[in-house]
């Protein structure tokens, strides 16, 4: 009904503004895969499936002289294996937006809006280290991101966003203001109230030397929207950020950067008689240096302290769900005994479009799997972390080689899960990657691109509940253009995780109340893929791939949870 209403508004606006221009955007994709799986739970058999779909998103936009634009994306989809639309076909409205400028001054957007601020306020962080992912896998991940509305670090919400920029003649150069409001949770009209998010950002560019920002984001339950609310949740995060140019001389630039702020959370739960407030703070500051005569060399050194009770749901919500109770695997969710749930794999993470990713803001810290990200499971704003980080980067002027390396030496601020000896976890992380455009070195006309990425994580703790978890992951890819526009793609991922963890069990206020869940890991995941990609134009391509995935569990007693999958994959994508 709401969508019908918004559609009516769009049509109405189109008439009201005497629309001058109607144009279309579109994305079409045909995708299908043939999958097989063998496992050790029932080795005398296998599982097979073939699935896929054809989808077309038609964006209809009505624009009036740049002052008003109304847009809707209509989706038609048909499943692979559903001929003549026999129950498999859907028509849906994927997105609705109205955008315009009020009085030539304030830009606004209504409907589906995409928001981000800073990594501690609103930030949809990537769930793993993928900057240097092989093309053969990033192609799949792009589909996942598209289907889940993950555009950079934005969260997609439904509401209104306004922003304006002021230019001044003296004192300051520009001043920007943003204000927004959105509904995060819809009332059930009985006990769950509407939950709203609202906030804003002020950004001042005093000069090239100094840039200051102020951010506020709040989440509130609106109790009046139901007769008897069981929950009343309020959270506010206020932060300030700045960039101060310490030195700019010739090719050298040195900036001081930082952000700090507080969070205030209140929760009232009738069911558990919980009525608590939690306040905490964070700060992060550092120096960012860049030397760029032609090539760019960058070095950034930070120190951060994120309090254990610092609570910023719009920055700490994970985009991937890793609690087996909450996600559902599309491809072979069970072993061949039809009852034992299998583990998530790297292939699921890069290819499963629905059921694994999260599109809503969670006020509680979501569960996670330590083998994939144990140092920053909630992004840069992960609470209960303190310590330095350093980032080193390089790229030459011709973009032949670029690399990034990041090191973290963090520790807990309070002991999560060790109530007796109060020992703290220590985290050492090293991650980075390199992209090498070999064709530029040898002056080849056709592209030859090598990517290599990796991550090492170490988590240790002494005390009564000792922890020692070591995880290494590698990703390497090769993209070779053979005949014109025909690319051979190769990629491999390896993840090895050994040791133990004790994951804290938290309540809705993120307090460790019921101890920990011990986890023992000794697993090796490998993902190997090869395929072809033919690009018809910049935005139209076809690709076929064969992917091999092995998940080897060597924990004593769990060896039977070892399994292998392989997949033939075909896709055609076009967008305009």
């Amino acid at each position: 009904m709401k969508k019908v209403f918004i559609l009516a508004v769009i049509v109405g606006l189109a008439y009201y503004t005497h629309a001058q221009n109607t144009y279309f955007t579109g994305m079409g994709r045909a995708l299908f895969s043939i999958d097989e799986m063998t496992d050790e739970v029932q080795p005398e058999g296998q599982q097979n499936a073939s699935s896929g779909y054809t989808v077309f998103d038609l964006g209809i936009n009505v624009e009036n002289e740049g002052l008003m634009r109304a847009g809707a994306i209509i989706r038609a989809r048909n499943e692979f294996g559903g001929f003549y639309a026999d129950g498999s076909s859907t028509l849906a409205i994927r997105q609705m937006q109205i955008e315009g400028i009020i009085g030539n001054r304030v830009k606004f957007g209504i409907g589906d809006i995409y928001l981000h601020q800073t990594p501690y306020t609103i930030w949809n962080f990537n769930e793993s280290f993928i900057d240097y992912e092989a093309d053969i896998f990033s192609m799949r991940r792009n589909v996942v991101n598209y289907e889940n509305y993950f555009i950079d670090n934005n969260w997609r919400v439904q509401g209104v966003n306004t922003e304006t920029t002021l230019h001044f003649m003296q004192g300051i150069k520009t001043l920007g203001l943003q204000a927004y409001g959105a509904r995060l949770l819809e009332s059930d009209l009985l006990t769950i109230p509407d939950r709203l998010m609202y906030g804003g950002r002020v950004f001042i560019v005093q000069s090239d030397l100094l840039k200051l920002g102020g951010n506020v984001v709040s989440i509130s339950d609106i109790l009046g929207t139901v007769d008897s609310s069981e929950v009343d949740y309020d959270n506010t995060v206020v932060t300030g950020d700045m960039i101060f140019q310490l030195l700019k001389k010739d090719a050298i630039t040195i900036n001081l950067i930082g952000e700090g702020g507080i969070s205030s959370t209140a929760l009232r739960e009738d069911v558990s008689s919980v009525d608590k407030d939690k306040d905490d703070f964070f700060y992060e500051f550092g120096v960012k240096m860049q030397y760029a005569p032609k090539s760019k060399i960058g070095l950034q050194i930070n120190y951060r302290d994120v309090g254990p009770d610092f609570n910023s749901p719009t920055a700490q919500t994970r985009r991937i769900i890793e609690n087996p109770q909450d996600y559902s695997l599309e491809s072979f969710p069970h072993f061949n005994d039809a009852s034992t749930l299998r583990s998530m794999t790297m292939l699921d993470r890069v290819s499963q479009e629905y059921g694994l990713y999260n599109g809503s803001i969670s006020t509680g810290l979501m569960d996670y799997l330590p083998q994939y990200n144990n140092i920053e499971p909630y992004g840069q704003a992960t609470p209960n972390r303190r310590g330095p980080s350093a980032i080193l980067s390089y790229s030459d002027s011709l973009e032949v080689v670029s690399f990034t390396m990041k090191a973290d030496m963090l520790s807990e601020i309070y002991s999560a899960g060790d109530t007796a000896t109060r020992a703290h976890r220590k985290f050492i992380g090293l991650k980075g990657g390199v992209e090498y455009n070999a064709h530029k070195t040898f002056d080849w006309e056709k592209e030859v691109i090598l990517t290599l990425g990796g991550k090492y994580e170490s988590t240790t703790r002494d005390g009564d509940v000792p922890i020692d978890l070591q995880t290494v992951s590698l990703d390497c890819g090769l993209n070779v253009e053979t005949i014109e526009n025909l690319h051979v793609l190769l990629g491999a991922k390896v993840l090895q995780s050994q040791g133990n963890e004790a994951l804290p069990v938290m309540n809705r206020l993120n307090e460790v109340t019921t101890g920990t869940t011990p986890v023992t890991l000794d697993l090796t995941e490998t993902l190997f893929g090869f395929g072809l990609q033919y690009t018809f134009s910049n935005t139209a391509y076809f690709s076929t791939q064969y992917i091999l995935n092995d998940y080897e569990n060597l924990v004593p007693g769990q060896e039977k949870y070892t399994f292998s999958t392989n997949q033939w994959f075909f896709t055609f994508n076009i967008s305009f």
């Binding site: 144009y23 955007t25 994305m27 079409g28 045909a30 043939i34 029932q42 080795p43 005398e44 058999g45 097979n48 499936a49 073939s50 896929g52 054809t54 077309f56 998103d57 964006g59 740049g66 634009r69 994306i73 038609a76 989809r77 048909n78 692979f80 294996g81 003549y84 639309a85 129950g87 498999s88 076909s89 859907t90 028509l91 994927r94 997105q95 937006q97 400028i101 009085g103 030539n104 001054r105 304030v106 830009k107 598209y146 509305y149 304006t164 204000a179 906030g199 804003g200 002020v202 061949n336 005949i483 526009n485 018809f536 134009s537 139209a540 076809f542 055609f572 076009i574 967008s575 305009f576």
Partner: protein, 693 residues
């Protein structure tokens, strides 16, 4: 605290709204989820389609009506013809970049509060919107190796290769009478439709007639090195794993390949198709112990495989030979040649069953200076390919779902083919003759064929037994395995709507309905079977066009006679030597009383008679069975003796250049003087409004 923030934000917003300087207009910074690339403002999308509203009325006194959420009551007032054809059909086509194309067909339906169990997208008010037949993306590229065209998607990707590999699906291989209007009727003055039939013998039809429906990817290459062409299809075909396999991700897929090249006036091709997969998602290998070793077999693997060579030989200026020759195989746990020779023990050496192969041969000779066309074919019994034009008459249990041991509605045991149709387990000859004598046009057809193996006693078939015996022994099943399937040519659309896509239905569980077609299966009760059933058919069509009261009128009469007998007979049998003999006569008239108004009339008659060696009815009209449920001979029994009538009239009114109105009213009756439960009588009417845009 939060109220303070709201007030503060409102104040700030008001302040800057009032004082802010003009900011630049947005260009393409509109953040939508398709904006992962730089956008350009594309406005080249083209829309076309039609509105087809069919008001349907039926009043029938019928023996049995099927379910399927469609026409479940004798009296019906509804919208649509009950076959999910859309009320609004919208085609969208775009070519955003050179050599690329996006095409979708969207269907919108309203069923006047009639639900659709078939299509789950119908809402509580009977409305439906869905992606329809065509839903694909195309891209072409031109290289020094040749040009390539890629089609991906589905909907349906219509495609064909050769008749034995990929051709028209069997739902569309039968003759269709011209009185009924088809959903895919194109836009024209309606008398042109009848004139086309008069002049060419056919009317324009949509892609699904003559092509097979696939999903997935089609890659075509043209002008490849060596002047060859190639086509590769990877995906699914509707016949083998199409309908609703998306629900369980049924692992059944298709790969087909064709390479062909011209050599002067001649051309040759090499073709391959394999529709392969498993009947279930979870597979447990079958263990076979042999010589104290355990062997593991992937028994649920199924495959419809064929490979052929085809050619066109211009023998001289007057004679042309088209041929296709090869081998085909159907593999399943019921149809195989046992274990492979080189099988090794152990789960790590999982094997599949060995295939049975059979021969494939089709050939056609045409003459430039003679109005004659002659066909010959021999198709082995182990060849099943639902993507081909060959009807399956030998293997009932080809179900593509987990219940593989159930019969498939695409099997027509012992089918009497229409002249020109080919079936497996059969060899035969067809001949066609066309000649005009002024305004008088004639068409004659002749066909004889004989099955290669009589499947009598093969208890893998005989699925109809389940309607009469809950736990039949092999002898009981065997009594159903020597049978004949014939097609009702008269009133078949009306018949098909008594039970949609059902087999073994009707008062004697022998009706088999498909898309707009209706068949019937009759068992032969012989206990000693040492013959191969033979088929003989003739048809004659006469068409005459003249002027009546200054307006054109076309008269047509089509007559067809078929018989099935024990021995090969060059001439159809007209007596009780035939197990079954079928006569069909159809007279139609199309009178263009004004340029935009055509009157249509139909008179039809059909009889089907069996002999005493086919299933019999007792004096009460009950099917004669033994105590176990086996169909048996009884000297007091009487065979089928069916008489059908159909007559109707209609009006075509083209009231605008792209809009027309059509009325049809048909009365029909059916009775069997011996199987007295097999009777119905009724009438139905449609008013169709069709507007193209």
């Amino acid at each position: 605290m939060k109220k303070r923030y709201i007030v503060l934000l409102c104040l700030c917003g008001s302040l800057f709204f009032a004082s802010a300087q003009k900011i630049s207009n947005f260009s393409n910074s509109f953040e939508d989820s398709t904006q992962q690339i730089e956008k350009r403002k594309y406005d080249g999308i083209r829309f076309s389609g039609y509105v087809r509203s069919v008001f349907f009325y039926r009043d029938v006194d019928v023996y049995e009506l099927g379910d399927q959420g469609r026409l479940t009551l004798p009296k019906n007032i509804s919208l649509g013809d009950a076959y999910d054809e859309p009320i609004i059909h919208l085609e969208m086509n775009a070519s955003p970049f050179p050599a690329t194309n996006i095409a979708t067909e969207l269907a919108f339906d309203n069923r006047l509060l009639r639900g659709g169990s078939f299509n789950e997208t119908v809402d509580e008010n009977g409305r439906m919107g869905s992606a329809w037949h065509m839903f694909n993306f195309k891209a072409e590229t031109f290289t020094s190796f040749g040009s390539f065209k890629l089609t991906a998607g589905g909907g349906v990707n219509w495609f064909r290769m050769t008749p034995l590999i990929m051709w028209s699906a069997n739902d569309f291989n039968s003759r269709i009478e011209l009185f009924d209007r088809m959903p895919w009727e194109y836009q024209s003055n309606d008398f042109e439709r009848y004139s086309a039939y008069y002049n060419q013998g056919d009317i324009p039809r949509e892609d699904k007639v003559g092509n097979s429906s696939t999903q997935g990817v089609i890659l075509e290459g043209f002008d490849l090195p060596g002047q060859g062409n190639a086509a590769l299809v990877v995906g699914k075909a509707s016949g083998s794993a199409g309908f609703q396999s998306w629900e369980d991700k049924r692992p059944q897929n298709l790969m087909a390949l064709r390479l062909n090249r011209a050599f002067g006036k001649h051309s040759f091709g090499v073709n391959y198709i394999n529709q392969f997969g498993h009947v279930e998602n979870e597979i447990s290998y079958t263990k076979i112990t042999k010589d104290s070793e355990i062997y593991y077999i992937d028994a649920t693997k199924i495959s419809q495989l064929a490979t052929t060579v085809d050619g066109l030989l211009q023998l001289n200026n007057n004679i042309r030979l088209n041929f296709e020759i090869g081998a085909g195989s159907y593999l399943s746990q019921l149809y195989n040649d046992g274990l492979k020779e080189n099988i090794e023990p152990g789960v790590e050496n999982v094997s599949t069953y060995k295939r049975n192969w059979d021969e494939l041969l089709m050939a056609e000779v045409t003459f430039a200076n003679l109005p004659i066309r002659v066909q010959g074919y021999r198709i082995g019994e182990q060849f099943v390919n639902f993507a081909s034009s060959v009807q399956n008459t030998s293997i009932e249990k080809t179900g593509s779902a987990a219940e593989q041991t159930m019969s498939n509605t695409s099997c027509y045991p012992g089918l009497i083919p229409q002249i020109g149709q080919t079936t497996n387990n059969r060899q035969g000859i067809n001949a066609f003759f066309n000649k005009s004598f002024g305004d008088f046009k004639t068409h004659a057809g002749y066909g004889i064929s004989q099955e290669l193996t009589n499947f009598a006693g093969d208890v893998r078939n005989g699925a109809r037994v389940s309607e009469f015996a809950s736990d039949p022994d092999s002898a009981t099943i065997a009594s159903y395995t020597n049978s004949i399937t014939f097609q009702h040519s008269l009133n078949k659309l009306a018949r098909s709507r008594f039970g949609f896509w059902e087999t073994n239905t009707g008062p004697y569980s022998r009706i088999h309905n498909k898309y707009r077609q209706s068949y019937e299966n009759i068992v032969i009760t012989d206990t000693v079977v040492d013959y191969k059933k033979s088929y003989a058919s003739i048809e004659l069509e006469l068409k005459y066009k003249t002027i009546l009261f200054n307006r054109p009128v076309i008269f047509t009469n089509y007559i067809q006679y078929n018989s099935v007998q024990e021995n090969l007979s060059l001439i159809p049998k007209f007596n009780d030597e035939a197990f079954v003999r079928l006569l069909y006569n159809e007279f139609t008239m199309f009178y263009n009383i004004q340029h935009n108004i055509t009157l249509v009339g139909l008179l039809g008659y059909e009889t089907v008679q069996g002999n005493n060696r086919t299933e019999l009815a007792n004096e009460n009209g009950d099917l004669i069975l033994d105590e176990n449920g086996a169909i048996v001979f009884d000297e007091n029994g009487n065979p089928i003796n069916q008489i059908d009538y159909g007559y109707g009239f209609g009006i075509d009114y083209t009231f605008a250049s792209r809009a027309s109105l059509h009325y049809r009213h048909r009365w029909y009756s059916h009775e069997d003087t011996h199987f007295i439960l097999d009777t119905f009588k009724g009438n139905e009417a449609t008013i169709e409004l069709k507007i193209f845009f």
